[in-house]
């Protein structure tokens, strides 16, 4: 620049500089305030446009938001760019990652592999698993995909890192599951083999036991069968086929019903169905037709349910025992009792008559001793009468002919009569009576009296030295109850179960008691025909309370 510059010229230059400065400042201001979209840069002969507003914004968002790590490396392996994903992975702030060598974040165990990989990556796209470490030296397994990006001023390498932890965990889990599966498969096979062994053994056992069972079943005197829980027969022994003459085909299912006497079938089926439902032992008498001559013989049928381990009924095992002979015996005996009691009744009546005539004899004064004998004879005769009456009742019950009229009667009066009678007959006993309420019932006074006298006589008979008997009548639910309590020998549980059976007598070795064991059976029959209920409560050695309930007449 020349030294001789005029003031005016300097002024002009200054003005120009000022103006250029302002222009530059304005331009910078325009750029800074975002009024410029792009800058045009002279590059040799060509102009290059640099966008200021980001054109690749969309991709940037993608890369920033993705969970994978994205890194750009220069030829020395320096990190030129990384996304948040990578910064999170290595747990460094972004500004501490850029400009740092990528190798810095590779775990020791992967470093050699990384160097090899890096060399290869500049030639072709490649990927492999590498361990990336973070600030705490925790290594994360990542799949690293390398790709070369061509750029002016040198190529760059892009790396995408995918965290494989979850995948590895899943893989490990899968392996564990696989192992487990294999183990359990082995176990299953083993169990299967064991099971097969057991099945073979069991089949053999079963075969043996079946053979034993069949041998046993075919050689016992009874007919035996098994049936399903629904009553369909599944098995019969040889005796069944021999007796009924039915074929196996005819007997199976419900075919066996053809062998039962038509008169017994309804009763049989009812009891059978009840047993199947309640799962209680089945017991019924019925006649079966003998195949060869069509004769019916009496059989006692019994069946028991057979349960499996869980308590379910698998099948029923039944037997039918020939009781024809016993039946006939019982019939003969009943017939005999009937005839005998009838035959006894007539001379008994005349004996009673003559004794009364003797007592009424006025001509000669009888000596006191004779009178005493006669009184004793009368009492003995009364007892005999009771026994014969009982026998007669028995045969009537057996023949279904124990009939009598039912009237509306006052139970209180019946009880009072009986107590009076008892006091008269057994004056040595102390009777405690509680009988204050009128109870109207429908019944036969004579028969009720017979029952109550039977209970009182029993109380006296089994008193075992105690002289006390309590007789009470009271209301029980919608019935009138009469209860007779003694304090004698009492009953065991087993005895209580059988006490109302025919001919059952309580065995008592100390006190030989009299009686035929018919009283309670007759009593229970009478109470049953009155639609009532007879029962006993007792404690062995402490005494018993026998009672009966009779339905009250309404109104």
């Amino acid at each position: 620049m020349e030294k001789q510059v005029s003031y005016e010229e300097l002024l002009n230059r200054n003005e120009e500089l000022q103006w250029r400065l302002e222009e530059a400042a304005a331009m910078l201001e325009a750029i800074r305030t975002g009024q410029v979209d792009a800058l045009v840069v002279k590059n040799g002969d060509t102009h290059q446009v640099y966008a200021l507003k980001t054109a690749d914004h969309t991709y940037r968002v993608f890369i920033e938001k993705m969970s994978e790590g994205a890194v750009t490396l220069d030829e020395n392996g320096l990190i030129l760019y990384c996304n948040s994903g990578f910064a999170n992975l290595v747990q460094f702030p972004l500004e501490k990652v850029t400009g740092v060598s990528f190798e810095h974040f590779i775990a020791e165990e992967s470093k050699r592999k990384y160097r090899r990989l890096l060399k290869k990556a500049w030639k072709q796209d490649t990927k492999d698993e590498l361990f990336i470490k973070n600030t705490t030296d925790w290594a994360t397994c990542c799949l690293c995909s390398f790709a070369v990006i061509g750029m002016d001023g040198g190529d760059r390498l892009s790396v995408i890192l995918t965290d494989l932890t979850e995948q590895k965990t899943a893989q490990a889990n899968l392996m564990i599951q696989n192992e487990r599966l294999e183990t359990s498969q082995k176990l299953v096979t083993q169990q299967k083999n064991e099971l097969e062994g057991i099945v073979v053994q069991r089949t053999h056992d079963l075969y043996t036991s079946r053979g034993n069972f069949k041998l046993l079943a075919d050689h016992i005197a009874q007919m035996t069968w098994t049936s399903l829980p629904n009553g369909e027969a599944t098995f019969y022994n040889e005796r069944w086929y021999n007796y009924t003459g039915l074929t196996e085909e005819q007997s199976m299912g419900l075919g066996w019903r053809d062998a039962i006497h038509p008169d017994d079938l309804a009763m049989f089926m009812e009891k059978y169905r009840e047993a199947l439902q309640t799962a209680e032992t089945f017991e019924a008498e019925s006649r079966y037709r003998r195949g060869k001559d069509g004769v019916y013989r009496w059989y006692l049928n019994r069946a028991m349910p057979l349960r499996n381990e869980s308590g379910e009924i698998v099948l029923w095992v039944g037997t039918a025992t020939d009781i024809e002979e016993q039946k006939k015996e019982v019939e003969r005996k009943d017939e005999f009792i009937g005839v005998a009691s009838h035959e006894l009744k007539t001379p008994l009546t005349s004996l009673k008559g003559y004794l009364q005539l003797i007592l009424m004899h006025q001509k000669d004064e009888l000596p006191d001793t004779v009178k005493q004998y006669i009184n004793k004879a009368v009492i003995a005769l009364a007892k005999l009468q009771f026994l014969v009456d009982d026998l007669l009742d028995m045969s009537k019950i057996k023949a279904g002919m124990l009939n009598y009229n039912l009237d509306v009667i006052n139970l209180k009066e019946v009880v009072a009569d009986c107590v009076e009678n008892a006091v008269h007959m057994t004056p040595t006993f102390e009777f405690e009576v509680e009988n204050d309420t009128d109870f109207m019932i429908k019944g036969n006074a004579e028969r009720i009296e017979q029952v109550l006298m039977n209970l009182i006589n029993n109380a006296v008979k089994y008193s075992d030295g105690s002289r006390r008997v309590v007789i009470r009548s009271f209301r029980f639910e919608n019935c009138a109850r009469v209860a007779v309590t003694d304090f004698g020998i009492g009953l065991s549980d087993e005895q209580m179960g059988k006490i109302f059976e025919r001919f059952y007598r309580v065995e008592d070795k100390k006190n030989m008691t009299s009686g035929l064991g018919m009283g309670l059976f007759i009593s229970s029959t009478i109470i049953n025909t009155h639609k009532g209920k007879i029962g006993v409560e007792s404690k062995f050695g402490e005494g018993s309370t026998f009672y009966f309930d009779l339905p009250l007449v309404e109104g």
């Binding site: 800074r32 690749d56 750009t72 760019y81 760059r156």
Partner: protein
């Protein structure tokens, strides 16, 4: 490297725009210069203005990439891809006599 530079720590911030050509070049070049002349006595933070706009707003940025020397001495700014080594050294006030 001069003795006197040993204890002087250079604190620098390089502002870039993602992985754009000038930005990536700027990183590579600057890193080379630093490793060559300031090895072990510099702190360099590289900030992507897209990723950390808040940090970027603290500075009066005109054009990118831009290097700001915070220390030592006065704050100085350099724009460009840092390819002109002489200019960078001058801007950073590094004694390049030994070059």
């Amino acid at each position: 490297m001069g003795e006197g530079n040993r204890k002087t720590v250079y604190v620098m911030r390089l502002f870039v725009t993602g992985a754009s050509p000038n930005s990536t070049r700027a990183i590579s070049n600057l890193k080379k210069i630093c490793e060559e002349y300031l090895k072990g006595c510099y702190e360099l933070e590289i900030i992507d203005v897209y990723q950390q706009p808040i940090v970027a707003m603290e500075e009066q940025l005109i054009a990118l990439p831009m290097l700001i020397k915070k220390a030592p001495g006065m704050e100085k700014r350099l724009i460009g891809d840092m390819s002109d080594k002489r200019r960078v050294l001058k801007g950073l006030e590094i004694n390049a006599v030994n070059l």
